[in-house]
């Protein structure tokens, strides 16, 4: 007899929640008040513009600064013992990107899960390891989601982003919170802050984007300095879309099967993001920074496509995330530095579904999820002797999760978790040789209001890294790293009704990497040339997966091993053409052989789901005076949607091409884009069809000039 509907759908929601909760986790904001605050900010910005006009920009100075930044960034990439890939604001502008994941698609070794549409959840996983291994750092503090362990990147704005970088292992800077060392890799988002400049105290940008499927996105960014001491910025944006796009559905796994052109429904979204930063410079090298960030949205969840059933999904999600943090930094001297963070994060979401099968509740399901985090961190760095640095950091945070539902979660345990980290790191740094090592200690202590809590966990995870410049006069370096890391079971893994397993151990991963970087700045007609290639081997053991206990009952278990062998290649080349024209090119390629290595598994040796063996991207753009045009391409090879790699689970590869052209006139800039130029129908996640060819135009005004 069939799987019990109850359990199956519960499981479905669990999986769904892994996705949705993470990305879109918060809700319940009131749109009217958002509009009001948006209007308020607009007024604020108008009055500030007047102030801004009084200042003249020192273009020479700015340009010089920019060059320095670019050089710094190149060197950072070339010298990294643990691979790092960086996109700065100017490069981001050439990537047909409207959100963080659009940018992350151009990193090598990355797999993006994209459920389609503007409101679809988006997560990033690295080098064949689950998305829970990817830490997301936002201006130096780590984001978290205790329920699902995955961060939905849809909630961050690109408008106030100065730089996005991706580090395998961990960032190379050892003066960081302990939590920075606790992931398999870290996606770092850095927002724009205005440096003190006596000639310029105001900067701002207002922009408006519009695109296919009813996409509208007004945004505003302003930054203002008050003397040497105070710096403020504010960024806010709203997004609206109906998301109704047509797609081609084949009723079978082959494109020879019958098909129909259908339209996505229940795909609308309205969201608002706001962030305020304040910086107080106590002394030149001592500062306090405050940050408050709010994201709220209300959206439809269209769900996956069901053959022959075009009923609209009635699932809605209202979510709301708020965090506020304070950061004290004191670079006392070259010898000694210390910093402290404190942060509060609140995230809640309301999930509703209307379906006649909820008979006992008049066809309505209401779930409410609320999670909170309180977090503190302290880090110290000390120069022991000339090229040798040591750092110590310690973090503590507390999480809780509350779930209320009119149908489910009657026996929910209401878990809380205290997590403590302590990290010791050292770095030996000369022009030719970099050596690094760290040891991270993790403890978790859990409590529950009812039932039994998960046992205490204590983990030690080491890492070592090295980079060496082979020749005195060539920026050619070889590098290697090893890192052991874990992923803690999430509250869903441990406490989700009927399937959570309180005895789950942390999942364990060993990462090995060897590679080289080559940076050349002195080739004629090339202004920049960076090539890097890294081969890696990752071994994941004690993998946390859902297995059937019987036909009605599934459970989370530590079972299974995965071995991933891969190669990441990145090439970036800027070619000077004519007097001032510039051709910028970038290519990356990823090879991932990620095999099920579980002894006795029927799928031993098969490629794990949703992991293409070959994938990559390419970009080329041409800059001519105030004009810039470019082409971007991403491709993914064949993937399998299940553990069984036969034709029923096969998903064809795809290539997606986009172009843009932009120009500026005085303080105005306009950018027009065509995404999916050739109208390719593709899916990133099976049965979540992506929109085909679509258009976007954005107009922005520099308020600081």
């Amino acid at each position: 007899m069939p799987l019990s509907g109850h359990f199956r759908e519960l499981f479905e929601r669990f999986i769904h929640r892994q996705i949705v909760t993470t990305v879109f986790k918060n809700s319940g904001f009131h749109f009217h008040s958002s509009i009001r605050s948006f209007l308020f900010f607009s007024v604020l910005f108008c009055s500030s513009t007047a102030v801004a006009d009084e200042f003249q920009t020192d273009t020479l100075h700015t340009r010089k600064l920019k060059t320095v930044t670019v050089n710094g960034q190149r060197l950072q990439v070339a010298r990294a013992a643990m691979p790092v890939q960086i996109f700065a604001e100017k490069e981001i502008a050439t990537l047909n990107a409207v959100n963080i994941t659009d940018v992350a698609k151009y990193f090598s070794g990355v797999i993006i899960k994209d459920y389609g549409g503007i409101g679809g959840m988006k997560t990033v996983s690295l080098r064949g390891m689950g998305a829970q291994y990817t830490g997301v750092s936002y201006d130096g503090t780590m984001m978290s989601d205790i329920q699902s362990g995955q961060i939905d990147l849809g909630r961050f704005s690109l408008d106030n982003i100065a730089e996005i970088s991706l580090s395998n292992g961990q960032p190379n800077d050892i003066f960081q919170s302990a939590r920075m060392f606790s992931s398999g890799g870290v996606l770092c988002l850095k927002t724009k802050l205005l440096d003190y400049d006596k000639n310029k105290s105001f900067e701002g940008k207002a922009s408006f984007k519009a695109g296919s499927f009813g996409f509208l996105n007004p945004s505003l960014f302003i930054a203002k300095n008050f003397g040497k001491k105070w710096a403020f910025n504010l960024s806010t944006d709203a997004q609206m879309a109906n998301g109704k796009y047509t797609f081609l559905q084949y009723y079978g796994s082959s494109t020879d099967n019958l098909s129909a052109e259908l339209k996505r429904s229940n795909t609308d979204i309205t969201s608002i993001r706001s962030e305020i930063n304040a910086l107080y410079r106590i002394k030149e090298k001592e500062s306090i920074a405050l940050k408050s960030n709010f994201f709220g949205s209300e959206r439809g969840l269209p769900g996956s496509i069901t053959f022959y059933n075009t009923d609209d999904s009635q699932q809605r999600l209202k979510d709301r995330t708020f965090f506020t943090q304070i950061h004290y930094l004191n670079k006392v001297s070259d010898k000694f530095q210390h910093q402290y963070f404190a942060k509060f994060n609140l995230s809640d979401n309301y999930f509703t579904d209307i379906d006649s099968k909820y008979i006992s509740t008049n066809g309505v399901l209401n779930d409410h999820y609320l999670q909170k985090e309180y977090y503190v961190s302290a880090s110290f760095q000390y120069k022991l002797l000339e090229p040798l640095f040591i750092s110590a950091s310690t973090d503590w945070w507390y999480n809780d999760l509350t779930i209320n539902s009119n149908v489910n979660f009657k026996d929910f345990n209401y878990p809380t978790r205290n997590t403590g980290l302590a990290n010791l790191a050292t770095k030996y740094l000369t022009e030719r040789l970099t050596l690094g090592a760290n040891l991270l200690y993790t403890l978790t202590r859990e409590n529950v209001r009812t039932g039994v809590a998960s046992p205490d966990r204590d983990k030690l995870s080491p890492s070592v890294s090295a980079s060496y410049k082979l020749l005195e006069d060539k920026e050619f370096r070889i590098r290697a790293f090893y890192k052991n890391i874990y992923r803690l079971p999430t509250f869903n893994d441990l406490y989700y009704q009927e399937m959570g397993n309180k005895n789950l151990r942390p999942e364990d991963a060993n990462q090995y990497n060897i590679g080289f970087t080559y940076l050349e700045t002195e080739i004629p007609f090339l202004s920049e040339f960076i090539l890097s290639a890294d081969g890696y081997y990752n071994q994941v053991t004690d993998k946390i997966i859902a297995i059937p206990r019987d036909m009605f009952h599934w459970s989370m278990t530590n079972k299974g091993n995965v071995k991933i062998k891969g190669l990441d290649v990145n090439l970036k080349m800027n070619i000077k053409a004519g007097k001032s024209d510039l051709i910028k090119t970038k290519v990356n390629y990823s090879l991932q052989s990620a095999k099920d290595a579980t002894l006795g598994s029927d799928n031993f040796g098969e490629q794990i789901p949703y992991t293409p063996v070959h994938s990559g991207s390419g970009s080329i753009s041409y800059e001519h005076g105030k004009w810039e045009a470019g082409y971007n391409m991403i491709f993914s090879g064949v993937r399998w949607i299940g553990q069984m790699t036969d034709k029923t689970n096969k998903m064809n590869g795809y290539a997606m091409h986009s172009i843009f052209v932009s120009t500026s006139y005085k303080r105005w800039k306009v950018n027009a884009e065509i995404i999916d130029l050739f109208n390719t129908q593709y899916e990133v996640v099976k049965f979540y069809p992506m929109p085909r060819r679509n258009f976007r135009i954005s107009l922005s005004m520099d308020l600081g000039k």
Binding site: Y308, S360, N406
Partner: protein
């Protein structure tokens, strides 16, 4: 230069041809499969994966075609195959998430009609199980209803309400018994609705153990129910609803799933080992006439994976046990009445129902 290119192209074409042909021939073998005497297996597939399929195993050729429905109709069955019955010359398949009844010609596998199952609000009513009598097919709907489908017009004639989230159903004595699971309710259901087929009205609800699953009847009018409990504190049970009196009696036999043919109930059961793998997989035989256990286990073959369905051939009395690991293709075991293994074949994902075809 050009010549080299042409030669290369030719060479490649020639080289690739045999591969091409061999690929095609395999596909063609399945698409030319003709239905004769054998079994149809409905493979449930995975929820939200649109991968339900129909395996046809031919007795004469011992060949199992992976998906006869796809081969004959150039499209997949849809999402979550729930139940399948043969009635007259047609086979009716209940598709849960696709919310339709797929009617196919039993001799060709070609679709006759897809009947969307919608409720009053025009949304999915989600079919769960099928029974047939007097020229009608009765469709149990997870939104709490039963529809009567005319087999000539292939249209829904009437729909009545039953309990919460009804699932399995059986007909005996001109009465339809429907197991109400309450699977989507805050508190699960523990009733069986009884429907008089002459009037097509619900006459009563019989209280049984929590969360009833499989429901079957014997030729004496007794109805047997395997319930699942709450998967936690309340255990599942095997119970009998007596003909005429509707008195419910507990039977001290552990059961996960069963089928009744003649005077025997064939009961599939198993336990779990420490790693939650199915262990101690048994097929017990229970005599429904004398109401006693005949054999606690008749199978000595080592069965892999987890038992998923059990159906007995009414003619040969051969026992078909489908197994699954929920990830890979399933497997069907065929045992004789004595429990001796006769043959096995590969099915699709999650084999859930066997229907027997005789030419």
């Amino acid at each position: 230069m050009k010549t080299t290119k042409i030669i290369t192209t030719l060479l490649l074409t020639v080289l690739s041809t045999p591969i091409f042909i061999s690929c095609n021939s395999k596909d063609e073998a399945s698409s030319t499969t003709e239905v004769s005497t054998g079994v149809f297996v409905l493979n449930q597939g995975k929820y939200n994966s649109n991968n339900a399929s129909l395996t046809y195993y031919d007795f004469a050729t011992s060949f199992a075609s992976a998906d006869l429905f796809l081969d004959k109709n150039n499209r997949g069955l849809g999402d979550t195959g729930q139940d399948m019955i043969k009635y007259g010359s047609k086979i009716y398949i209940a598709m849960y998430k696709s919310s339709l009844i797929e009617v196919i010609n039993a001799q060709t596998g070609v679709s006759v009609k897809s009947i969307p199952m919608k409720n009053g609000a025009g949304t999915s009513s989600s079919p769960r199980s099928l029974t047939s009598a007097n020229g009608k097919v009765y469709v149990v709907l997870y939104d709490g209803h039963v529809s009567q489908l005319d087999t000539v017009s292939l249209a829904v004639e009437k729909t009545i309400a039953v309990g919460a989230n009804p699932d399995a159903s059986v007909i005996t004595n001109n009465k339809l018994y429907v197991a109400n699971t309450g699977g989507m309710a805050a508190v699960m259901d523990s009733t069986v609705s009884v429907i008089n087929l002459s009037t097509f009205t619900e006459t009563k609800k019989i209280k049984i153990n929590l969360n009833p699953g499989t429901i079957k009847a014997d030729s004496y009018g007794d109805v047997y129910v395997a319930s699942k409990g709450d998967y936690n504190l309340i255990p599942g049970k095997f119970q009998r609803i007596a003909a005429g009196t509707d008195v419910v009696t507990d039977i001290a036999v552990a059961v996960k799933n069963f089928d009744i043919i003649g005077d025997n109930a064939y009961i599939s059961n198993f336990d779990y080992d420490a790693t939650w793998q199915a262990a101690h997989k048994t097929i017990a035989v229970y005599d429904v006439k004398n109401e006693k256990l005949v054999s606690a286990n008749i199978v000595t073959t080592d069965i892999i994976k987890t038992p998923y369905c059990i159906n007995v051939d009414p003619t040969t009395k051969n026992i078909y046990l489908g197994v699954s690991d929920y990830v890979n293709n399933g497997k069907m075991y065929c045992f004789g009445q004595d429990g001796a293994l006769k043959f096995t074949f590969t099915t699709g994902l999650n084999p859930t129902k066997v229907v027997f075809i005789t030419k």
